[in-house]
């Protein structure tokens, strides 16, 4: 493994499989009466979150605690960022206190790369702007593999706000690397230019895109990142792209429905689908802890080329 996990692009195919297999073993720890192993005893992990997050932050924190690391959460609202400190200065100050791992989420794409250059600590990207969210893609792949026993050759359809989604970018890189047939679908105003160069098919017709899909992955409409009118109304978006039982019926009979959360019910997904029999949304959350334990464990080893 490299020093840091900044994006799926940092990983070889073998490393992706190593993380998924390690996560498989980590899962068992969560089923024990004592959900803790001494592996990262004495290591300090700083969770530096510049953006609101419930799932990812909690998931990382539980993963760190199950491995016995000492964890420290820095939430922006209560930190010196409000007093005008730059990210680089914050990073150097945290680095001066010698943590072993820094988990960072930031609204700017590439913030984790800046941190990675400054810090000797291992850096894990927990979401940088519209760029990548590698642990989300890994837990998605873990969930898919658990249900389908493979990823190679599966038809995966990703529907929603493609433009603003770091989950999309990480998933496209990972799923195409592992040989899935990926189709992305959304309104043309929300399709990133050049996305087809990543080896995916692009569709603006959701009824066509979900046909015979093994996996349907929904993406949230990220209104907080939208500075303009990308579609006429939420209601029209739901009618045109929202995941409904009728649309799910066009996919394979054993399709699974995924969503990275948080969900906007009635915007990108109907409640019948979100809570329905095909939904694996809560399994994704559960698997997130195992996958993050695997990443923390594997990153704590030696660095390539040392």
């Amino acid at each position: 493994m490299k020093k840091d996990l900044l994006g799926i692009g940092d990983l070889t195919r073998d490393e992706i499989y190593l993380i998924l297999d390690t996560a498989e073993a980590m899962r068992e720890i969560g089923q024990r009466p004592i959900k803790k192993v001494p592996t990262l005893r004495g290591k300090t992990v700083v969770n530096l979150f510049y953006e609101p997050s419930t799932r990812t932050r909690t998931s990382f924190e539980i993963a760190e605690k199950r491995l016995s690391a000492d964890t420290l959460n820095i939430a922006v609202a209560a930190s010196s960022v409000l007093k005008g400190e730059t990210l680089a200065d914050t990073a150097m100050n945290i680095e001066a206190m010698a943590p072993d791992v820094i988990v960072i989420r930031h609204a700017s794409s590439g913030a984790c790369h800046l941190l990675s250059r400054i810090c000797k600590s291992r850096v894990i990207n927990a979401g940088d702007g519209m760029h990548e969210h590698p642990t989300q893609a890994l837990l998605d792949a873990f969930t898919i593999r658990e249900h389908k026993k493979r990823i190679d050759g599966l038809k995966v359809t990703i529907v929603g706000d493609l433009l603003h989604s770091r989950v999309l970018r990480s998933n496209v890189l990972l799923l195409t690397e592992l040989g899935a047939d990926v189709c992305v679908c959304g309104p043309s105003t929300l399709v990133p230019i050049g996305i087809e160069r990543f080896g995916v098919r692009v569709s603006t017709n959701v009824d066509e895109a979900v046909r015979d899909a093994d996996v349907i992955m929904m993406l949230r409409i990220q209104q907080e990142r939208m500075h303009g009118a990308f579609f006429p109304s939420v209601r029209e978006y739901f009618n045109t792209f929202g995941m409904t039982p009728a649309r799910v019926a066009r996919a394979k009979p054993d399709v699974i429905i995924m969503h990275p959360g948080p969900m906007n019910r009635g915007v990108e997904i109907s409640s019948e689908v979100a809570d329905g029999p095909y939904s694996v949304i809560l399994e994704q959350v559960a698997n997130g802890v195992s996958v993050r334990m695997a990443v923390l464990y594997l990153l704590a080893g030696g660095v390539e080329g040392d």
Binding site: E28, K36, V37, P38, L67, A300, G302, V303
Partner: protein, 183 residues
């Protein structure tokens, strides 16, 4: 490489250990005592050895003893000491029964420094509170670094520190033997 145990002797040794277990556990409290037993094999080669002893006992008196598998990697005391090279691969721990109040028979292939057993004891305690833990090893090669002793030993094998002992089992290596190798 000199073979110190061949397939026939490994088979005979494990059958003998099965008899020893019965001898020690059946008499005092009557047959009821056997109900308390459970095997936990240490990955990798402790697992097939545990299964073979369990099936030997089944052949002798028809008793089914539950068998689990333990991966001790996350409990190793040398894990984070050298930040070079990749992390050791973790395999799955599978103990599909409660170990509370059971007599656990911990199984490994080679007993050497004792550090693996130390890690295994820590790991087991995280699963519950067994009534007792006993240790079964196929080979004891000496050179202990911790105060640990096996209760059932297949073969005591005096070695020098420069030698290495390789256990091969059909389930994993396609053949049964124990070899001793000079560095």
């Amino acid at each position: 490489m000199p073979v110190v145990l061949d397939a026939v002797r490994i088979g005979r040794t494990l059958t003998r250990i099965a008899h020893e277990i019965l001898e020690r556990h059946v008499t005092p409290g009557g047959p009821g005592d056997m109900v308390q037993l459970a095997f936990v094999g240490i990955r990798t080669r402790g697992v097939p050895i545990a299964k073979r002893i369990a099936s030997a006992i089944r052949e002798i008196n028809g008793q089914e003893i539950p068998t689990g598998a333990l991966d001790i990697t996350l409990y190793r005391d040398d894990l984070m000491r050298h930040a070079v090279g990749p992390q050791p691969v973790i395999r799955r721990t599978e103990i599909p029964f409660s170990i509370d109040d059971k007599r656990i028979l911990l199984v490994d292939d080679v007993l050497y420094t004792g550090r693996t057993i130390r890690a295994a004891l820590d790991a087991l305690i995280d699963f519950g509170r067994p009534k007792a833990i006993q240790l079964i090893v196929l080979v004891d090669r000496g050179h202990r670094e911790l105060p640990i002793k096996a209760d059932y030993v297949g073969k005591n094998l005096p070695t020098s520190l420069s030698q290495s002992v390789q256990v091969h089992l059909t389930e994993i290596d396609g053949r049964d033997d124990v070899e001793i190798q000079d560095a």
